[in-house]
């Protein structure tokens, strides 16, 4: 696998942004700012999974928060029943979420297009019902508490600035992982399926298996983000992981743009901080999100960042008097 210069160029802006974000605690930000940033970061990790699924493979899942929930409940149950801490929970939750993704994905992907979205939606709702009816084991409707702190080399990472850095580190890992997938031959296979499923199948690509593979990969991201969520919130309940919160994840990934590496990062940050910047209450900000989503789909179907990039290339081309709006090079996506 030869990394071309252009593929490295798509990673660089993300790494620079993340490096700058890692410096934020130096300016002693408020706790409120840090909490917002942490929840944005946890979402962004899940969004990178969704961007592999939706952006690269072209499948939209409404069960993504359910997979985040698998991660969160895995972490909470491991801590409660086996006294297992954060660092072991991460891989275990990733594997658990991948298994559940496979259980959901194998039947769901037998049906195509719209039906798939509705299937994942139904699985998400089913999971909430199961968690709610799980009795003492899953804590019922009131959920579970997380009693263990996050420690690293004996140091407690629970203070907000430290937890923030931990989240930034995980966001960086997921961005790099997502970049590695996008630029591998596997990523090219997924894009081939997105662009023309029949052609991909005719070229000998096992479409079904790769779709399930992409779904499982997205599940791993969701599981890891769930563990961080459980350790951050200290309390989780089934309602958080129903299908409707998935709409907000889809919205973030669409607003940022699912195909660009910078997309999930931009979408997650924008959606979390826009209400703060514009001083809106939660109800107003949700109306704004919805309107943004509709506007983005109608006017900028590739997301905000891609829209800006398209506009930039268009301007550049206009100055060179080349006709027609250009596209951002595929390698960067």
């Amino acid at each position: 696998m030869i990394k071309s210069v252009s593929s490295l160029r798509s990673l660089a802006p993300v790494l620079i942004v993340l490096l700058l974000l890692a410096l934020v605690p130096l300016f002693s930000p408020s706790n409120r700012f840090l909490s917002l940033a942490i929840s944005a970061g946890i979402n962004i990790i899940a969004l990178y999974g969704l961007s592999v699924l939706f952006g690269q493979t072209g499948i939209l899942s409404m069960g993504h928060t359910a997979l985040v929930g698998v991660g969160a409940y895995t972490a909470a149950l491991l801590a409660r029943d086996f006294d297992i801490g954060f660092w072991v929970s991460i891989p275990v939750a990733g594997i658990m979420a991948a298994i559940v993704a496979a259980i959901i994905g194998i039947p769901s992907l037998r049906v195509s297009g719209h039906h798939f979205v509705i299937m994942t939606f139904a699985f998400g709702q089913l999971m909430t019902i199961i968690l709610t009816n799980g009795g003492d084991y899953t804590g019922g409707a009131s959920g579970l508490d997380m009693g263990k702190p996050v420690t690293m080399f004996g140091a407690d990472l629970d203070a907000l600035p430290r937890f923030y850095l931990l989240v930034v580190a995980f966001v960086t890992i997921s961005a790099v992982a997502s970049w590695a997938i996008i630029n591998s031959s596997y990523g090219r296979t997924l894009r081939a399926i997105r662009e023309n499923e029949k052609l991909a199948a005719a070229l000998g690509i096992n479409v079904g298996r790769h779709k399930i593979g992409a779904f499982i990969v997205s599940g791993v991201f969701a599981g890891v983000s769930g563990v961080l969520l459980a350790y951050f919130l200290r309390h989780i309940s089934p309602g958080q992981f129903a299908s409707f919160p998935s709409i907000y994840l889809a919205l973030m990934v669409m607003i940022g743009g699912a195909r660009l590496l910078l997309g999930p990062l931009a979408g997650g940050i924008l959606v979390s901080f826009l209400p703060e910047v514009l001083n809106l209450d939660p109800v107003q900000s949700r109306i704004l999100y919805g309107v943004c989503l509709i506007a983005v789909i109608l006017f900028l179907p590739n997301g905000l960042i891609a829209g800006i990039a398209d506009g930039w290339t268009w301007l550049a081309k206009m100055s060179k008097r080349t006709p027609a709006a250009g596209n951002v090079p595929e390698a960067g996506r």
């Binding site: 719209h114 139904a122 709702q125 109306i287 509709i294």
Partner: protein, 289 residues
């Protein structure tokens, strides 16, 4: 046995509301290929309008009509300013409808808060036949649904407009060549589906208190019914609605009520796995040129 009949009646009255949703979903999907997830929010708006009208002293029948008209108008406006532009790419229509869910829910919360809303029962008579208590309001809901669905069915299978509609579902381009104003039919079906959702909303609030989030569960069940019956298949939707009503009623009667919501989803998943086009066969949406 008494409890069983009782629960069956309860199940059927809720299934009526769900069937109305499913019929709208199935009609809109059949012609446009758009999966409008915000259909449940249309129902919720119908409930809210009925609630507002009744709280302002308007009689229930008139309030119900107002609810239907308001949602039909909303459907018309949304089709003209949004869904019309997503006809070529139905996936975008679906995503847009997700945005609409969020917008409609929170606009209602913004103006009328998120609390439960209820109206006094429009019919309070309860008949008691052989130990079974039959609430007349439930009977009204069931009868109205039967009447409206039958009317829709006759219109689509018997009338000239229905034939033109089915021709447009079969092949949009050829239908247009035959002089059928397909675009206008699309708008018309969207308005009809919205009106049915508005009616369902008005009937639902006559049965239960609602919240701005009621639409979410209702639309999922509506979709489950539409999918089980086969998307685009009207009689399939009615049959599936009946099945779901009986299953939910029976399970509540035998004490598994906390799992009621799981049946529609579980049933839907099973049906889609083994018969992806539904129990009664559906269309896979309009054929794209």
């Amino acid at each position: 046995m008494d409890i069983l009949l009782q629960q069956l009646l309860n199940g059927l009255s809720i299934a009526s509301v769900i069937t109305l949703i499913a019929v709208g979903v199935t009609l809109i999907f059949g012609l446009t290929g758009i999966i409008n997830f915000a259909h449940g929010e249309f129902l919720m708006v119908g409930s809210i309008v009925t609630w507002l009208a009744v709280s302002n002293g308007i009689a229930f029948p008139l309030a119900l009509i107002l609810g239907v008209l308001a949602v039909a108008l909303m459907g018309f406006v949304l089709e003209r300013i949004i869904f019309r532009f997503t006809l070529e790419r139905p996936t975008n229509g679906f995503i847009v409808s997700l945005g609409l869910i969020v917008v409609l829910q929170h606009i209602v919360i913004l103006f009328w808060n998120a609390n439960q809303k209820s109206i006094p029962r429009p019919l309070t008579t309860v008949w008691e036949i052989g130990g079974v208590r039959i609430a007349s309001v439930r009977v009204m809901v069931i009868l109205m649904t039967i009447a409206v669905v039958a009317m829709t069915y006759v219109m689509i299978t018997r009338s000239r407009y229905g034939r033109a509609l089915r021709a447009s579902v079969e092949d949009r381009d050829t239908a247009a060549l035959m002089g059928i104003p397909v675009r206008r039919y699309i708008t018309g079906v969207f308005v009809l589906g919205s009106a049915l959702a508005g009616l369902a909303g008005g009937l639902l609030i006559a049965l239960f208190p609602i919240t701005p989030f009621t639409g979410g569960t209702m639309v999922m069940k509506g979709f489950a019914v539409a999918l089980i019956g086969g998307l685009g298949n009207l009689s399939g939707a009615v049959a599936a609605g009946l099945i779901l009503g009986i299953v939910e009623g029976l399970s509540a009667g035998y004490g598994f009520s906390e799992w009621t919501d799981a049946y529609s989803f579980g049933l839907m998943i099973l049906v889609l796995l083994f018969r992806p086009h539904g129990l009664f066969g559906g269309t896979s949406g309009p054929k794209m040129a």
